[in-house]
Symmetry: C2
Subunit: 496 residues, 2 copies
């Protein structure tokens, strides 16, 4: 057909003169956005996978993508109860089917009754389905030993990322020296830096202490804050606990210190607690910011403004594809809350299947219900395997000369420090790459393992790291660790 030929250039994306929308005239804020977790190294990994399928010979037969916390992609099986209820919600004809346990049917019926026209295909309220927000509030109350949670303060979201960006949107204002400053940890999860770039807010970096297991020191918060006050208006403090990419679990004392600091310095607190069920190390325990805040007494609990975030993508369920999550806002001005409700209404509602899934996560099978035993068995198995893999990773990395690794106390990642020979650093510079990207790219090409360079998360000048998820099945994880070990030794030798 004629235009097949004529439009060949256009269809294949060959650069053309005179485009209206170009790199030069597009939104400069979008250009500044970076997101290493799915950056160039992952694009190359996808390319290599394609080459493998096409029969190109490589020193490996598969690419192992340890760049992202994607449990199911790494072979983790979905939790039966969750998926049974989702199937029932999708196709309610199955409610007549004997193969489904009664408690799964009861949950599905309850969710469907809360949906418009009893269908998960209807829009929900923009803040989320009311009965699910109630269940979330009960979950929080139970988690926090009875501290009350108001369903009006719960907003369901499209994964935690969506909620985090939404709260940042409310907080960003000002020009020049009045621009909102947002404190984020270094290393950080790059959603934060990406959102700040897009919203044109000022990133205020505070460093975690690698020598003390990536712990947070209020002195460092203060240093970063006071320096930032010279050039912007710091209004927000973001904390990720358990830490991503660094895997530390904050102590109760440290959380108290942070809350006291936030109150003294008039900072809005954002507590990213999506890994709250992923705590492995002995002596470590998850403490929610909400609980600690309320235990500090009314001069804190009635005063400190805060949002806390959770997700269906992590923990034992790992249901990333459903994009479910919630946030709880605390002490937010009712007028601002009305603005928040208005803002989320523009996107109509979070995905309803994700909301349904969240409902099951916050309200899992109870001991007297038929699905309880299987559910607990599956849940425990996932968390036990993760705990084992956390330990294994730390142990093996620490046997490698030139790799040092803090314990993976929680979350799903290790962020070991790597020594790179000067010659490798020079070679990387020559090729216009940051040294740890050079290292990770070489690892990918030679071993088929995809990691994210530490520079994608931020690190102290002159130090190098990578982030690796501990999610691969134990045997595969052992293989990955061995391959990285061999590569690191070879790399060190090559550039010495």
């Amino acid at each position: 057909i004629m235009w097949r030929a004529l439009t060949h250039a256009a269809m294949n994306g060959v650069p053309q003169r005179g485009k209206l929308l170009t790199l030069d005239n597009m939104n400069p804020k979008v250009k500044r956005v970076e997101y290493a977790v799915r950056g160039p190294i992952v694009q190359r990994a996808v390319q290599i996978e394609k080459e493998l399928r096409e029969g190109v010979k490589k020193p490996f037969t598969e690419v192992i993508k340890a760049n992202i916390g994607d449990a199911h992609a790494m072979g983790q099986k979905p939790i039966t109860f969750l998926r049974q209820v989702l199937a029932l919600c999708s196709y309610p004809e199955l409610l007549k089917d004997n193969q489904f346990p009664e408690d799964a049917k009861k949950r599905a019926q309850r969710i469907l009754e809360a949906c418009g026209g009893h269908s998960i295909g209807a829009y929900s309220a923009s803040q989320g389905i009311e009965c699910i927000r109630h269940d979330v509030a009960h979950f929080i109350e139970k988690r926090d030993g009875g501290i009350p949670s108001n369903p009006d303060n719960i907003y369901l979201s499209t994964g935690a990322s969506d909620a985090i960006v939404t709260i940042l949107k409310l907080l960003v204002s000002g020009e020049g020296r009045d621009r909102t400053g947002v404190m984020i940890s270094i290393p950080q999860y790059p959603l934060y830096s990406a959102a700040l770039a897009e919203l044109d807010a000022v990133q205020i970096s505070y460093y975690l202490d690698e020598d003390k297991c990536w712990s947070l020191d209020v002195k460092e918060l203060r240093r970063a804050l006071y320096a930032a006050r010279q050039h912007c208006n710091p209004r927000v403090l973001c904390i990720i606990n358990p830490g991503n990419p660094t895997g530390q679990v904050q102590s109760r004392q440290c959380i108290e210190d942070v809350i006291r600091f936030a109150k003294e310095e008039n900072l809005f607190l954002m507590a990213d607690e999506v890994y709250q069920d992923n705590v492995y190390a002995e002596g470590c325990q998850f403490h929610s910011f909400k609980k600690v805040l309320f235990e500090m007494g009314p001069e804190y609990s009635s005063k400190v403004e805060m949002a806390s975030f959770h997700s269906t993508s992590k923990c034992y369920m790992g249901e990333c594809g459903f994009r479910g999550g919630y946030m709880e806002v605390i002490n937010m001005d009712p007028e601002v809350k009305a603005q928040l409700t208005k803002l989320v209404s523009v996107r109509l509602c979070p995905p309803v299947p994700g909301q349904a899934l969240l409902d099951l996560v916050v309200n899992p099978p109870q001991p007297d219900e038929p699905s309880y035993a299987t559910f607990m068995k599956e849940r425990t198995a996932v968390l036990a395997a993760l705990a084992e893999k956390a330990k294994l990773t730390e142990q093996i990395f620490n046997t490698v000369p030139g790799i040092t690794c803090n314990p993976v106390q929680g979350a799903m990642y290790t962020f070991p420090r790597i020594s790179l020979p000067q010659k490798a650093i020079d070679k990387a510079k020559e090729e216009g790459q940051v040294p740890d990207m050079f290292y990770c790219m070489k690892l990918l090409e030679e071993e088929g393992i995809c990691l994210v360079p530490g520079s994608g998360f931020g690190q102290r000048e002159g130090t190098f790291h990578f982030r690796m998820t501990i999610l691969p099945p134990t045997e595969k994880l052992k293989l990955v660790l061995k391959k990285i070990k061999d590569f690191h030794l070879r790399f060190t030798k090559e550039f010495s």
Copy 2:
């Protein structure tokens, strides 16, 4: 427990002095956002529903929410095939079950094989699952009589809203007189004005011609554009076809004129075509902008930059809750496309159940497959009922003195014009309300019918309208129309 009392004020959202984040210091762009489709009138409707449940006596027993195109909430049943496949994808154990037709199983298996770890709980590629993007491209090629579509140009999204805002984000830049101007129709779907407020772009309003069935005249586009060039940098032209809220279907000639105009004036085209399967009026037909563009020859098809949007929320399926959608970008600079890919990667991926659903919509059962007959029967029934209701609505409204209504050629809404007596206008002003909001609020309080005032979409100064969806089942729709008729006559009398 002690803090139950102590934190009572905080938990119940009572305003407090000294908040960090207030209406005065929050993001002013967010404050400017308005979204009438879920605005104050809908909040009041939800309140009234609660009052009814609590036994408060009203002149009606249920609130009919005709404010939004939410098919399932209005009683439309999901399409069996779609939900069967979704259930199979959610709980693959069901693949062993004889009650599911083979073609549904085949689709589910194909989708699962394209997912990480064969689970819809894994993240997908940020642009969307590759085989689904291929299916979308085939669907577009078939729809457009063979004009090629490149899967690399397809981006799956969280509903069409998400994709529309993403493209606007790329296009927005500049300060003062260089700020990006975006042309949108009046009346418009308020997602557009909301996104422009949030992105701080300039809204350029062009008026549809109510006297000519809400048609679009290039002369009016030119007027609006030239006026806007005095104070901003117009770069984008948005078209909604079939129209929301106005229900018109654009003629092929008009689309050609618009494309020619966009080319001459160097405008990026955004074609919101989410209602492409919702065309009812005789003599009307949906023409995609892409098809017309390519039929206009290479000087257009290789030159005009464009994005077109589609959704799983409308048409015959009405699966709003799944938040599925896609866009096709045409002639986009490859460097800009790389930026687009980077930008969407920050949110990881669109909800995978919505992607799966979209795959079924673009690749429905074929004549030789077991689900074909039922699928076609269900699809045809939905579209035939909508066509009937479109006609019914127009006919009944046009019998009411003081209501005039254009034919509902397509989409899911009627946007009739209402005459309001001067006394009603004065009374509204007295109460600080815009007159059509006053009218709609009164209708809600007296009849339990929730509509959206025309002012939420924009209308010519001095004219008044409302938007009503035609989705209620025929008998209920007749009741709604009768109630509105009675109310309108009563209202007119009361204020005459």
